[in-house]
Symmetry: C2
Subunit: 300 residues, 2 copies
């Protein structure tokens, strides 16, 4: 399963039973946590996300509604004696905060916390079954989006055909990577005659907090699921720009220009009690829009 | 109304829909916040505590389950443009954390935050209608309890009698303080002939996190309501001591020795799903015990 569980879909001030930003991305039996607003550890519990499967946490930027829940989550992991190492990707200054908070509590973590400072764009995780890259979005302070991609082999072995062609099994991995096979007597076995098309590598892009910008379109081109913030409705387009946020319609324009398959919108301002208009305004531009709802898992 | 609303009654790891420590004490139409664990701002909202009436926050010690919600609360106060000054009493290092978190978010508060470092015991607030003192309890790191006392005048004017004795109104305040009045022709009007007994000054003591100790008994002598932590049941007495915490029965012994009118217990360990045994074990020593329950207000 490759899916995104929404833990918090609201902007800065928690309201209307909506919480600050956090998402749990399940991929290859791991859980990647994207941002960690206050209360994330409670949301994780309420929505049955497996805390023990979280080995990677990514913090987009250092506004509190995206990280104030992190230290509580780390502390709880420590109190239940986690020993598995944890990888944390975040703007550099966050490490200082964590270290200070541990110091003043006279505490330490019983597990290794590998802190990876986010400073430039590019691939930051390369696991057996997925990769994660980060890219810059435009907010009041440094802010990163994340692109999570499956990593399947490009081709699948067509076993009866491969056996019939007498291809040694040790060459199968190269077949999966699309290579042709050269027999001992110099004949070429074309790759497509002994393999089938592989599983498509799906991709999820999380664009964090950003004003409307086309600058990161190349990073999110044709993703299967695009999360783009939509803090405001059209009536606050000016305010959105001033505060480095976007409207629902702007999110939809980006999804359209990125040629994304599906759009998920969130980070709703507390000023809006209901969310119907967000859906309406986004769908008017990009029909395959869904409102992010807390506790719901959206398949990529 | 002088009462204590429980916002979080659990110890460090949130569980069983119980939250980390925070209490809202209502006195003289103000709300004093005692500790501020993660999620306090959401609890405040859920339990209809008026955020705008909070002008004083007291943090007992720097373990995260007592303060991780503070920065979120301050940030929300900032986002809704609070301008009223706020007084924060806490161990000195907390100010450094707050300043660092504001700095990395490139933010500032639109209201004055008066930070009062807690370093020694004594009176820390002297308002027209109440006082707050702090006292040391014994925990793994520096930790303070707080004593909140009403401040009524000791005597109430018996108006018909005072008028009949021709006492000038400008002397009334001295009458309320218990003084006799000397007439121009040298006669003494005894205070008790022109005044009535005043309203009793009630007191609430919050003992934060502490191991069993009689060291602060003088500070909580005969309080009307005593909150004493009870992290564990009798079966974990040894662990309680090692972790600088108390059992429900130990809390009850302290309430008895302090000659408190009523005991409120809380800070329950996550290992206990239900709380009945806490009540039972405490009541066996101190019958007037109540379990602190989230969302409930206990009158002092």
């Amino acid at each position: 399963m490759f899916g995104v569980t929404i833990l918090g879909n609201n902007s800065a001030v928690p309201a209307h039973d909506r919480h600050p930003t956090s998402q749990a991305v399940t991929i290859a039996n791991e859980v990647l946590l994207l941002d960690c607003g206050e209360g994330t550890q409670m949301q994780i519990k309420d929505y049955k996300v497996k805390r023990s499967k979280i080995n990677y946490i990514f913090i987009s930027h250092l506004h509190g509604d995206h990280y104030f829940g992190l230290i509580g989550l780390l502390s709880s992991m420590a109190l239940i004696n986690r020993t598995t190492p944890l990888h944390l990707f975040a703007p550099p200054a966050l490490f200082e905060v964590i270290q200070l908070q541990l110091k003043i509590a006279d505490s330490s973590l019983p597990f290794q916390l590998h802190f990876h400072p986010l400073e430039k764009e590019g691939e930051i995780v390369n696991e057996r079954k997925f990769t994660v890259s980060c890219f810059k979005v435009i907010h009041r302070i440094d802010c990163f989006g994340f692109l999570i991609k499956e990593k399947h082999k490009s081709r699948k072995i067509n076993l009866p055909k491969a056996l019939a062609a007498c291809i040694p099994t040790m060459f199968y991995e190269r077949l999966q990577n699309g290579e042709d096979y050269l027999t001992k007597d110099g004949k070429i076995v074309k790759n497509e005659t002994v393999t089938l098309e592989g599983k498509k590598n799906k991709a999820y892009a999380y664009c964090a907090d950003t004003l409307y910008t086309e600058s990161f379109l190349p990073n999110i081109h044709q993703v299967d699921l695009l999360y783009h913030e939509s803090t405001y409705l059209n009536d606050f387009e000016e305010q959105a720009k001033n505060r480095f946020h976007s409207t629902a319609e702007q999110a939809a324009v980006i999804a359209k220009k990125a040629d994304a398959k599906k759009l998920l919108i969130g980070h709703f301002s507390s000023k809006y009690k209901t969310l119907d208009l967000f859906e309406l305004q986004s769908k008017s531009v990009f029909p395959n829009t869904e409102l992010s709802k807390e506790g719901v898992t959206y398949l990529v």
